[in-house]
Symmetry: none
Subunit: 187 residues, 4 copies
DNA sequence: ACTGGCGGGACCGCCCGTTCGT
DNA sequence: ACGAACGGGCGGTCCCGCCAGT
């Protein structure tokens, strides 16, 4: 028996769909009950495996979170990072792009929206939570209190709309959420 | 460990402020780390008591959550319940009122906004989560998909703006968040 | 305020019936649920006091047990101790006397009969549990295995009959239990 | 702590005897100190494991009690249930059989005899405690007070004799206890 | 690729005991 | 004589992680 050296992403063996099934189950349970409130046993029972099997593929438990949300976070960083936000028009374009990225990863945005999701992600880039970074990009040089509240409103409108509209058509969500976030931002 | 100066606690009569101090500490920690991730020991250490003393005043642990958020939930039900939402103008007035109530309880809205807060509160009134009820009040008779997304946007704008602007002046938050939520709702 | 030095039996103040009420409640609860399974709070609730008040009168908790069963144990030692058990006739007289003493204290024999009663009484005379001592008195000089089993049968017949017949007339219990224990002993 | 010699545990296959060792330790400790007074840590220390390991095999703690006494209770129900007790001769045969069953499970009868054993077993068959059922079987149609006391005497003679004679030969216990119980019943 | 067995840690709940105050 | 408040400790449960084995 060749004890395959597990790479950083976990062992790449002959049954890749097991990993996918675990990830799928974890995403549903994380969305429903939160990350901390979901145990490895819960996921294992849901998939039909044992706790050890789940831990074998994803170790430690946090890696489940990482593999689920890292694509979304990578997109957030890659697509929104190079966008300039110097002028107000640029910030509005940034907000449009933000909604597009959120909608593209709408299935995991609910996880990121929960407090135990976004806030408690250690060492996935920088120290400040992504949500704070997003808001910072929406502020002018010398933000006034109303600027701050409006920026949070815009991000909140976009995030909650996407996370709570998983049963609505994707293009409708994108279009309407974009308009709503912009309207809040321009109010 | 630290023999607190007896003058601070007051030698006369009982110590009713201990409950207040515990509640205050719990609110801060729940906001920062979430309800499930905060143990009685954490709160006890923060207040300067032992775990047993905290459990003496609030038993079981869920009682802490209830006493913190029940005023806010009671206001949500009492003030928003009788408001009619038949016409669009009435729904906009409802949204205005919603922001006002949220701002009034801004210190605990962050707890209610977290997944383990509003969504997972067992038996604190009715079965459906309050957030769903709020959104339902914002929808017309036969809601279209865009209506649904817009309603979530409006609620999200209000909630996140209030929860993340604790360091901003209250009247600014109320005014700006109201305008932003209405703008998202009207977009 | 004169801080009356509490004697070994507790403070002798102005409300002696409180002690009696606590003892009465403790006896009932110990009989129903066992000593270890009965907390001071249970007794306090049953009497209508607080836990502290109960602990004030009986401290530590074990003193409740002691004050309940010590009269019975004292009688066991006083009346059965001087009885000679050298001959078989003397041992039969001893057994008769044993039943009489058990019946006299029938209200607490149930407590003594439970394992956590008799066995876990520390420092109430000697180390070996009283029940073992009773059986030893029923054995001849060189006991055979049948002697041992018969002695335990006789004690068991007496003890269980008394403990489980609290609702029967006392004289009937005394007469019948005596005959049964003797019959088992003579079988 | 103590790295047990791996030869003792056997490196091949699973270790099913661990359950047996835990059960054996639990039986001894329950007999000596009672069920409630014996903690999982006590058992774990006695076996040479940790509390977690014990809880892994038997969860919850009550499962230990159930697995220990259920064979005896099953025999009590299976063998004594169908026996008719209409006439006095049948009841005497029932009593003979009772002693035989008790002796067969003499290693756990002590647990069942303790107050927290037989009396407080929740949902292990029917509602009324088994000991009461046994006594009921020994009573005639219209029992008089002496009948009741004698029945308790007979059961007590059998039970205590068996529980306290673990160090005596089994056939002696069976023969003598049977005679003693019958003698008490006939007295 | 997957499992059973087991360790270590943390958390909540409970209980007894004590001190201060009345 | 009694109550409110609080401390220290333990018991049972749950969870993640590790190891040997297959």
């Amino acid at each position: 028996v060749t004890t395959a050296t597990p790479g950083a992403t976990g062992p790449s063996g002959t049954e890749p769909d097991t990993r996918a099934r675990i990830l799928d189950s974890a995403r549903r349970l994380f969305l429903a009950r939160g990350y901390a409130a979901t145990s490895l046993s819960d996921i294992a029972t849901d998939v039909g495996l044992t706790k050890t099997a789940v831990a074998y593929h994803f170790h430690p438990k946090e890696r489940l979170l990482v593999e689920l949300v890292s694509p979304a976070l990578a997109d957030l960083a890659a697509e929104l990072g190079p966008l300039p936000t110097g002028t107000r028009a640029q910030r509005r374009a940034f907000l449009r792009h933000l909604v597009a990225v959120l909608v593209r990863h709408r299935d995991v945005i609910g996880i990121l929206a929960s407090d135990t999701g976004l806030l408690a992600l250690p060492a996935l880039g920088g120290s400040p939570p992504p949500r704070d970074l997003l808001v910072a990009r929406l502020l002018p040089a010398r933000p006034t209190p109303p600027d701050v509240v409006r920026a949070w409103s815009a991000v909140g409108a976009a995030q909650v709309a996407v996370a709570r509209s998983l049963d609505q058509p994707e293009d409708v969500v994108r279009t309407v959420a974009t308009a709503a976030a912009l309207a809040a931002y321009d109010s």
